[in-house]
């Protein structure tokens, strides 16, 4: 009797396993139904405070304009999009793309473009006349062989130097350093005053620091040339820049877990400087649930990272149109919202970034954001390494590896060799 009962359990377990194995197939069948025609699957990694609010605001506009489509939020949690991108690349490889997905504009999308996973959006740019309302340099930097493949919905700035005014005053420094040399001198003064000169986070924040130091040491044109076909990573200027990186790193405090605790050291007056993207502003400024509730210009202040005044090192979240999107019309309707003035003005103040369009409503952007908007209008542009603008994934990973190894052995010659090899093997 007992044995029969056991057998029944075992058989039903096996049945369950087989059923769950077929689950994927069932979903496919229903996807062809009439309800699914309306659904627009929007894939992103915006689940955190601020960014999720921004997405919701855009979603409301989408719902208002498109009664025939239904927004489906396919967001995957995880700050920098690591998990989301891992899932995305396997979906794209299996030719089961979402209707539209978020990606950093620029080289990060190149892998997808080269393997023919994305549709060119030139038709949309022409229809909406986007080339007239977005900066020419931005369009140039995201164009691949005459085609644009994504719609940038926002702009973040990467080269921002955050500092604590009272710590600076305590060390006898009058204002933010303008050049890399001044920066090093100031770091030294802070060190003598007993505070941490520069706070750093986990390994990727060093790549973030490196891109600012490269830009500040080489100048905008030489920096941008590093990412072209005629790039030369082995020259003496790069050596000098990497020497600067080493010097600056020697003033860094103990690495923190991530960028937030590192930024917090500046806000708390333990450290003087931190170089981080402008999402740090939201962290400093927002009320205590998601931020530190600090007052800008008093508890913390900002400037262009040393030597980069007049250049805006940008990164951008953008949306794409994958080839074979199940609901192509719905995806295009979403892209139109993402590209529109109304959509960008709804999204960006909440996310803490500025719109990619030049004709945005400036009154919506206050404090840091108004500064950023002003710089965006006049500055030259350079693309971020860490955040996927100038280097494709393979290249960026090699750079990250090289910086991670450098963090341990501090060997400039070896770092430069690794960077030269990374450029050569990037396939970009």
């Amino acid at each position: 009797m007992r044995r029969r009962w056991m057998a029944a359990v075992a058989v039903s377990m096996a049945g369950l396993l087989t059923l769950s194995a077929c689950g994927g197939g069932d979903k496919q069948d229903t996807a062809g139904g009439p309800a699914a025609h309306r659904k627009v699957e929007v894939f992103s990694w915006w689940t955190g405070p601020g960014e999720a609010d921004g997405l919701k605001a855009m979603r409301e506009i989408f719902a208002k304009q498109n009664s025939n489509f239904e927004f489906f939020d396919a967001a995957v949690a995880g700050g920098s999009g690591d998990q989301a991108r891992a899932l995305l690349s396997s979906k794209l490889q299996a030719n089961q793309p979402p209707d539209t997905f978020q990606g950093h504009a620029g080289a990060e999308l190149q892998g997808y473009i080269k393997s023919g996973k994305l549709e060119s959006l030139n038709f949309l740019y022409d229809e909406l006349k986007l080339k007239d309302v977005m900066p020419q340099q931005l369009i140039d930097q995201i164009t691949v062989e005459g085609q644009v493949y994504s719609v940038p919905v926002n702009i973040h700035r990467s080269n921002v130097l955050w500092f604590n005014p009272s710590v600076l005053k305590g060390a006898g420094i009058s204002g933010a350093p303008k050049t890399v040399d001044e920066f090093v001198a100031d770091l030294d003064k802070v060190k003598k005053s007993g505070k941490i000169p520069l706070s750093i986070g986990s390994q990727w924040t060093l790549v973030h620091l490196l891109e600012s130091v490269l830009l500040g040491s080489l100048g905008t044109d030489a920096y941008n040339a590093l990412w072209t076909a005629s790039s030369d990573w082995s020259n003496a200027d790069v050596t000098k820049a990497l020497e600067n990186f080493k010097t600056i790193l020697s003033y860094a405090g103990t690495p923190q877990d991530d960028w937030q605790p590192a930024a917090k050291q500046v806000a708390d007056g333990e450290a003087a400087f931190n170089i981080m993207g402008d999402w740090a502003y939201g962290y400093f400024h927002n009320p205590p649930e998601g931020g530190l509730g600090k007052e800008s210009k008093k508890d913390f202040d900002w400037a262009a990272s040393p030597g980069t005044d007049g250049t805006f090192m940008w990164l951008s979240d953008s949306f794409t149109l994958p080839k074979g999107a199940p609901n192509r019309d719905g995806a295009i309707a979403w892209l139109k919202v993402a590209a529109s003035k109304e959509g960008q003005d709804a999204f960006n103040p909440l996310k803490g970034s500025i719109p990619a369009r030049k004709d945005a409503d400036q009154s919506l952007y206050k404090d840091y954001l108004s500064w950023s908007l002003e710089q965006w209008a006049g500055d030259k542009l350079a693309g971020s390494i860490q955040h996927g603008v100038v280097a494709n994934d393979t290249w960026r990973t090699s750079i990250t590896d090289a910086v991670g190894l450098f963090q341990q052995d501090k060997d400039v010659a070896k770092l430069q060799q690794a960077l030269v090899a990374a450029a050569k093997n990037s396939g970009q």
């Binding site: 057998a7 075992a10 058989v11 096996a14 396993l17 087989t18 690591d82 991108r85 891992a86 690349s89 794209l92 490889q93 892998g111 997808y112 080269k114 393997s115 996973k117 986990s202 390994q203 103990t254 690495p255 923190q256 877990d257 991530d258 333990e270 994934d393 393979t394 960026r396 990973t397 090699s398 990250t400 590896d401 991670g404 190894l405 963090q407 341990q408 396939g427």
Partner: protein, 297 residues
């Protein structure tokens, strides 16, 4: 007919799991090995990749990061396995001496095993914060407030011994389980044997040395296998404590970056093959030993 009736239901009962394991374990292992022997270094492009033999397997040794992750893995394994074995044995030894409320202590020591490595990692990430002096938090703070500042160190950020620190949470988590194994082993030694040894003039230490310890050998071996294979494929703990940083890189995290960051499936498959291979080196001798023992009358 009766014979069929004897074995068929049993076979039917296990066949789903045989099929599932054949496909999803051994089939995928084979597929992974095949992928590791191709030159498919681009995940997204739809090229099948050509056969490249063992090129990936030899090529990876010229990468500095690979050498580092192997070295880290060895340090972690040595500290973790030795630490958990010694601590587990010690706990079991003390329990075996007979204490009050033994089952309570057993539960307390076993409990960490109910926690996942991720949760352990999140807590220990704070405990092992590397800030020192007045900024210290976690264990360094504890040392500071006890006036033991000389004990403060960089924990997992130390370039030479960081992986040893990384093994501490793992030891914390697994030593209770090892204790349970050893305790069962201790209990398995019949009292008659101990008595006999005592009658033969053994001191208390001699009883352990000549009677109890030799009988613990199978338990020690099982413990070694269990700890060894956990250690060689450790991933969740490392990611929870330090994320993807080269300073604590192990083969499994390297595989993650190879596949998902640089989109290089062949390299990822190569690393995966090496991980499986290293576990095999641990497990196969055990299986052989086990099979021989089982065959003995």
């Amino acid at each position: 007919m009766t014979r069929v009736r004897r074995w068929l239901p049993g076979l039917l009962l296990v066949s789903p799991s045989i099929v599932l394991i054949a496909v999803f374990v051994y089939g995928l292992l084979g597929w992974n090995l095949k992928l590791a022997m191709t030159d498919k270094h681009n995940e997204i492009a739809e090229i099948p990749g050509n056969f490249a033999g063992l090129e990936n397997f030899t090529g990876i040794w010229s990468e500095e990061r690979w050498g580092l992750s192997v070295r880290h893995s060895i340090v972690f394994t040595v500290v973790f396995v030795a630490g958990a074995l010694v601590l587990g044995w010690l706990l079991a030894f003390l329990m075996e001496k007979g204490i009050r409320a033994e089952s309570g202590f057993r539960a307390v020591y076993l409990f960490p095993m109910a926690v996942s490595f991720i949760a352990t990692g999140v807590v220990w990430r704070w405990l092992m914060n590397s800030a020192t002096g007045e900024h210290a938090v976690g264990l360094n703070r504890l040392f500071h407030s006890m006036g033991l500042d000389f004990l403060q160190w960089q924990w997992f950020r130390d370039p030479d011994w960081g992986m040893a620190a990384m093994a501490i949470p793992a030891v914390w988590q697994m030593s209770g389980y090892i204790m349970a194994l050893f305790l069962a082993g201790f209990r398995g030694v019949p009292d008659e044997l101990r008595e006999a040894a005592r009658v033969d003039g053994c001191g208390e230490w001699g009883v352990y040395r000549h009677v109890v310890l030799p009988m613990l050998r199978p338990v020690t071996l099982s413990a070694l296998i269990i700890l060894g294979h956990i250690s060689l494929k450790v991933f969740d703990l490392v990611v929870a404590v330090s994320g993807k940083q080269i300073i604590t890189d192990v083969p499994a995290t390297f595989m993650w970056t190879a596949v998902y960051d640089s989109h290089d499936p062949a390299k990822g498959a190569t690393i995966a093959s090496y991980i499986v291979l290293s576990v095999v080196i641990f497990v196969v001798p055990y299986l052989i030993w086990n099979a021989r023992k089982g065959n003995r009358p």
